[in-house]
Amino acid sequence: MAKLARKVAIVGAGTSKFGSTFPLRRIPEHISDAWINAVESVDNGVDPKDIEACYVGNYSADLFNHQGHLGPMVSSLLGLNPKPAPRFEGACASSGIALRQAVITIASGLMDVICVVGIEVMNEVPTSGVTDALATASDATYEYTAGATFPGLYATIASAHMQKYGTTFEDLMRVAIKNHINGKENPFAQMQRSIRDLMDSKMKRIKDSGGEVPDWKDEFDYLNSPSNPRIAYPLRLFDCSLVTDGGACLFIASEDVAKKFTDAPIWITGTGQASAAIAMHDRNTLTALTATTEASRQAYEMSGLGPNDIQIAEVHDCFTIAEICAMEDLGFYEKGKAVEAVRNKDTYRDGAKPINTSGGLKSKGHPVGATGAAQAVEIFKQMRGRAELNRQVKFDVEKAMTHNLGGSGGTCVVTIYEK
């Protein structure tokens, strides 16, 4: 059975303020802001001299910013030269992989303290450039020539899931509504507003301009209106995560030194990573992401925990359907049954199993290469009772999980955290 050779903890974690910030805030600012935020979270302080390596997760600054070789760029900004600074790429799972590799390195005994940085600044290119850059994480020869976009690939999964399990458009909307309610309470979120807020302000704008005010009774009416256009049927605008500029920073330490930084480290007790065919047509199912199942199996086995032990989770909701698939493929719910939990609001902050208390990729934002590390930041805050505004769950979180996907599910990293 795969085990870590020694205990590893997160002792500090922070993000930049996510948003569409280019050109005002670019790669250096998001790295610096995330670093500052993470340093502030280390109870007893951290000195750059303590850090032995900087592991960088970045998907494609090459395509978004015409900048490759992110490792030494990050280490230069943070005063970490000449420490090693490798870059990890696994599409949207890039910094989840960087985190996992930091854990493995420390567990091996090679190092005691590693800084993990996730970074992506996507708004330097127009929408078509973003669509194209993201599409390179699918199969370039067979999927791209058939017209695949990322919303299109997840929409294809949604079409099969809806057909097989009776998942409805309203179920997808429920995921988005919940995540925006959470994001409203996250000062680092790109869209710090509920869908109800967005609906009300749109109605006010129409009223103020003398137009005919739509007859929207609730969020569902709003999401069923032309204000929520189709992006890739069956997915609409509010099923999609955001195009985001952001950075995240984590300090990872061995058991030997963790207590030097804090009396309340968050232990990483399980880590798993798996792959699946890059092209969806080469997989044996379209309604489940098998890399999620396998990565979580590894993480559960390592930690000795099961799906029912996990109290809260940050899952990779790059699209609303992805959250529903994750809830099933992580074993939280049987296949086809996650929508019942969605309908019962079990995944709300005050529900039986809160999911994406940060607002998720939907509302907090999805700077793709930074997302895996940013998910760990939310878990770090929730487990230490320090989530901002009204976002902190009302019970003591002792066991939590992050789930980070790359591409249409070709890569998956699952991490389990304990106090």
């Binding site: 078509s128 599409a135 199969d139 020869t141 976009t149 919303p151 992006i231 069956p234 092209a279 047509h281």
Partner: protein, 141 residues
């Protein structure tokens, strides 16, 4: 094996441009892969040979894409004129990705049904500045 018969991505695409959907069949285990592969996906040995597909199958999953790739924008699609990306299960077993044509992309619920029978349709591409080629398509049978 001569170069023109070798199982390569380039030769697969060349066959496509001649109106042939080609897979590879493993001489060892009988497994069929589409698009063709040098290494059989089941036993990972280079014992594959070309096999032409019937071009018949059924729709496994799809999406009508309004915000498309720059490549499909060049093909003339936009927000108001979406195209249909689809995954098709071939009669021979494997699945392929292809554009689904001959359907009403603006009314998918009414006109596109998962499980509907399809047949191959080779789609010539003539985009200024790009070499002429053929993309894989399917249409209702």
């Amino acid at each position: 094996m001569s170069e023109e018969n070798e199982i390569t991505q380039n030769n697969y695409l060349k066959f496509l441009s001649e109106g042939k959907l080609m897979g590879s069949k493993c001489k060892k285990c009988g497994n069929v892969d589409v698009p063709a592969r040098q290494l059989c996906s089941k036993c990972i040995t280079a014992t594959t040979e070309w096999i032409e597909m019937s071009g018949k199958g059924k729709l496994a999953a799809y999406s009508c894409i309004h915000v498309g790739t720059p490549y499909f924008e060049k093909k003339g699609y936009d927000r108001k004129k979406p195209y249909c990306f689809s995954v098709i299960e071939l009669d021979e077993g494997p699945m392929v990705s292809a554009q689904l044509v001959g359907v009403d992309e603006l009314n998918p619920k009414e006109t596109i049904k998962i499980g509907m029978p399809l047949k191959v349709k080779f789609l010539p591409v003539n985009i200024e500045g790009l070499p002429e080629k053929v993309d894989l398509g399917f249409e209702p049978a």
